[in-house]
Symmetry: D2
Subunit: 341 residues, 4 copies
């Protein structure tokens, strides 16, 4: 039975395994200071169009989020995010474990607005005795978001504007960055991300690697001693080369973008098939995650043939579900799904 | 200009200062192991009707909350509370600083419901992979609440019921316990608190002491090594006797309850005066905090004569404010306020 | 039986209680923003000879240490101190609880040396991969030390020199600052402390107050948002005026220094009496703590008449003990002790 | 130039890469709940001779240490270890970051003694006011140790004895477990480890895997909710199967033990070559790490031909160095090294 449950069901793109094989018995220094990591960083620098950044490779998203966020905030500060933000709902309180409150703001379709950020800042400093409440210290957004949506360039610029106004670093979780950039109608380029974010990462785990996220620190003020933070948070891989080799491969010849486009194209086929049959969606997503609302009969029928996620009960008779595509999704599997719809 | 701004504007009840004076040059052992702390604990035990509890004296509310909560939770657990809960909004993230998420649930008039607790528990364990989200590990409520309301005995029993169902310790923040118990129409006794809560505290700071909160641990499983937690959290007073003497005084001859009744009686006079003039209230409070909604003209006029807190803008022309009474509020000051209304 | 066990056996200097009495029913704003705190800060500024500092009043030493240290360090940094340092041995791991390693260095007579600091810094940065070990981020010393000794001005300047060389903030724990400054032969003035330390505090608890420590932040870079840290660590007293009134009194007409001199003078009488009888000492202390080494017979005999602390077994037949004097120690009690020796 | 610098210079044993290749496009569930993890756990259970344990796969040693230790300790507790313990010196304070003091005890040749543990426990509870110091809450040892030594079965039993006496869980860091068990003269079996430890892990990173450590929880009381801890600490790999496949391979047909024996055999050849030439050693190690003390001339000459680690300056003219072998060390490289010696 084919899985559309998530975007990390398979291993890695075959080219990555080949490279691991080829380099397997080479001896390198550890902890991310080898030539593969160096080269991967260069290739990512080229992809984002600038080399004045620091790039670190971590093994997973929760780890990247907690390491970056706790490296930026002062003890009494919290991180602003959408209520749907991954750090707010799906990381077992890793941010709070590092001592910081997640300041979750209501968001439409998983997207935080500049106004919401502006309001919380105004309110905080308007208080008589702001020191009695957590000080917002940075902003976290996801691109693409946890429900598959993407910010427009104008929206990102507005968010950046309010961040600059208050001196708030902007951190973009890019666990699904490639799928976001490949979204239908997306007017954001990777270079925009790099010029708007203070820190962001390029996800590997969900985008064709075995595992790994490439953290890009753009803001000079946030670069110092970052490796200490990685190590302290248990994220420094002894054989760092494994990450270097993977990202080197993904950012060679545009593979990262190609795989992303493939996943989105397959997702659009699924979306169109549901749309054609008149289904509505929980959220209108232009990326690799699709959230059609199914009648219970349809839910039962489809779940006999495919695996997908139950997302949210909508009413007595309807449930929103999630179909995920990825770099690995085969056109044949989508053909079968479309046929079943 | 008279302050109705809060319930900690003055020093302490005069009898407390006398006792400090009388005992000043006595030599005692430190850290809360002196005879005054011992006697204060006995008197509190008598007041709550049982002596099989552990009683510790801490210097303030935030400290009491963070020490108790972090002593109970496992690292991956969070504490359920109302969105208005003091730990959620007014303690600069002290709970998160100790590593735990505050799981804030919407609450009506500052009161958490048994159903809301039941729902979050059901949802958590119904998840496919509950370990990806924070596990609710205890419940925090305030009596009286941050907006002056009190739970009925039936409501407390319902909350206790759902806590027992899921094995959640129930912690009652009693910074204003006396004012709550003295509330008009309150059917809860201190002995009920002691039989329903696993831990609670009796506030001193807002109830006639210079400072101090008496933490009462009822549940045997939560008693072990609590003094280590106090010390580690910076809350172990070298001259612990200062707390012993204060609580000994407050719980002698019912002073604590007498002071509480006085404060509530004065608050009722204020409430009635506003009511008589047709003012509405943000919340219907039977305790020492009153939240009338004032037209801006009235706001301006009153603020020329009294100090009180701006609570919340209601609309363009109206603002909810807070008038607080306390053990120290004079009948004359209330006369003057009532006359101005 | 008279206690020489510690320097916090009694309440407070009578003048403090008088002032609390006089001001008791005044209404003030809370949280340390009242006129008494303001005036106390001015008086302390005068005592240290500069007013370009930030002064905050906290309730105890462990709290002051944990709040200051955790406000300065980055997550991956630790604090250098002597193995005998209070934060290393007697605060139940409050520093580690806030996430930081205490980097304890062997020290002679409780005094850290500039060389020891220089060495740990050199070693750290000489490492191949310093990010695998905790980065030393500040220095903590106590004046007077936990075993009653004091640094000379030259020693303090050397320590400051090495701190400046590596950019390490210097924090001086002054729980017994007055007793240190009053030490026999001490060539350090309070103004020296203020020009050498980045942060320090003036202890109240052991120096004549009911409780309280006055934290003085000298280094501008460490001043920002300190009140958030106080609140988050549970150290912001609602009735902050209690601390203001106490420090105002202690720093009026030189009372703080007078009390300190008294305590040291009484300690010197105890020291001289033991010396005259040929006793040796665990450490040669010129302040209010004396550590004579007693034969077990003497130990037994004295402990029938006075309370004092057992410090350390020296050999089968001898034990080092501690006699503490304080602002409250009476000449009569010392007469009796001297007679018994 | 051949690296003897560490035991993680190469990728993984070829059989592991083959299995990753074979299974690459299979779709599995995430987060360690796939069939490969299940099977790997079964195989490890067989290797240790019992199946009543919980087995979790984490990505690295620091992460395993911090996750296990912080899951066991109460907030005010610390972990006993040798001063040379990895958690004390080489993890950037990850344990302190999780809130706990590392209670480092002097150790001979990297081995903690039962007596040292007994002493610290006796001292702690003999204190007048133990709550002022960190309570020792568990014991951490490494097998083999950070300097290549191994405990005898009698030593382990003694340690277990004192742990049982005080109710201290015993945690064995097995980053180099295989090399320890394969040590010359070692009388400890893997089944002994499993019956003496409350928790331990079997290292993969240094023992033939790309990365990964298999944490084995023996003590039932420590099993509950461990997956929450993994997730919160950023250690839950999305594609958990990668770890399952690796450990499945290592524990099939005794590969893990075979690779360990190979590494130790090569190390013994190096040791014997140095011995034959009269060199002395910093520590007498029967495992894959060797610490000969070289004259500076020899150091210079050898470092022109091989990479190895500078460990510790012994005197003006001598330096202790470390040669590491591993599963991947070729007999040819050792031939060349032996020839150069």
């Amino acid at each position: 039975m084919y899985h559309f449950q998530c975007d990390y069901s398979e291993g890695a793109h075959p080219r990555i395994l080949e490279r691991l094989q080829e380099t397997n018995m080479e001896q390198t220094v550890g902890y991310g200071e080898d030539k593969y990591c160096l080269d991967a960083a260069l290739k990512i620098g080229s992809a984002i169009g600038r080399h004045d950044v620091d790039i670190h490779f971590l093994t997973g998203g929760t780890q990247a989020n907690m390491t970056v966020i706790s490296s930026i905030l002062r003890p009494y500060q919290g991180v602003i995010c959408a209520t749907t933000g991954h750090i707010n709902v799906h990381e077992t309180g890793a941010i709070e474990h590092s001592g910081h409150k997640v300041l979750a703001l209501p968001a439409v379709n998983g997207l935080l607005s500049a106004d919401a950020i502006d309001n919380i800042m105004k309110e905080h400093f308007a208080e008589d005795g702001p020191e009695h409440t957590v000080q917002p210290g940075m902003v976290y957004i996801s691109f693409s978001s946890e429900v598959g949506t993407v910010y427009s360039l104008a929206q990102l610029k507005d968010i950046k504007g309010v961040c600059s106004k208050y001196g708030l670093p902007l951190f973009i979780d890019g666990a699904r960055m490639g799928y976001g950039l490949a979204a239908e109608g997306c007017d954001v380029e990777l270079s925009d991300i790099a010029s708007l974010a203070d820190v962001f990462y390029l996800g590997g785990t969900k985008q064709g690697a075995l595992f790994g996220e490439a953290v890009v620190i753009v803001n000079d003020a946030l670069k110092k001693d970052f490796r200490y933070n990685i190590k302290q948070n248990g994220g420094m891989l002894a054989k760092g080369r494994l990450l270097g080799i993977q990202f080197q491969t993904l950012f060679e010849d545009g593979l990262y973008f190609e795989l992303s486009r493939h996943a989105v194209a397959q997702a659009m086929r699924i979306r169109d098939a549901f749309r054609a049959k008149g289904y509505s969606f929980l959220v209108d997503s232009p990326t690799n995650q699709q959230f059609p609302i199914l009648h219970n009969d349809m839910l039962e029928s489809l779940s006999g043939k495919f695996k997908f996620s139950i997302w949210q009960k909508v009413d007595e008779n309807h449930t929103a579900v999630r179909f995920c595509t990825s770099w690995a999704t085969t056109a044949e599997a989508v053909d079968a799904l479309v046929a079943s719809i």
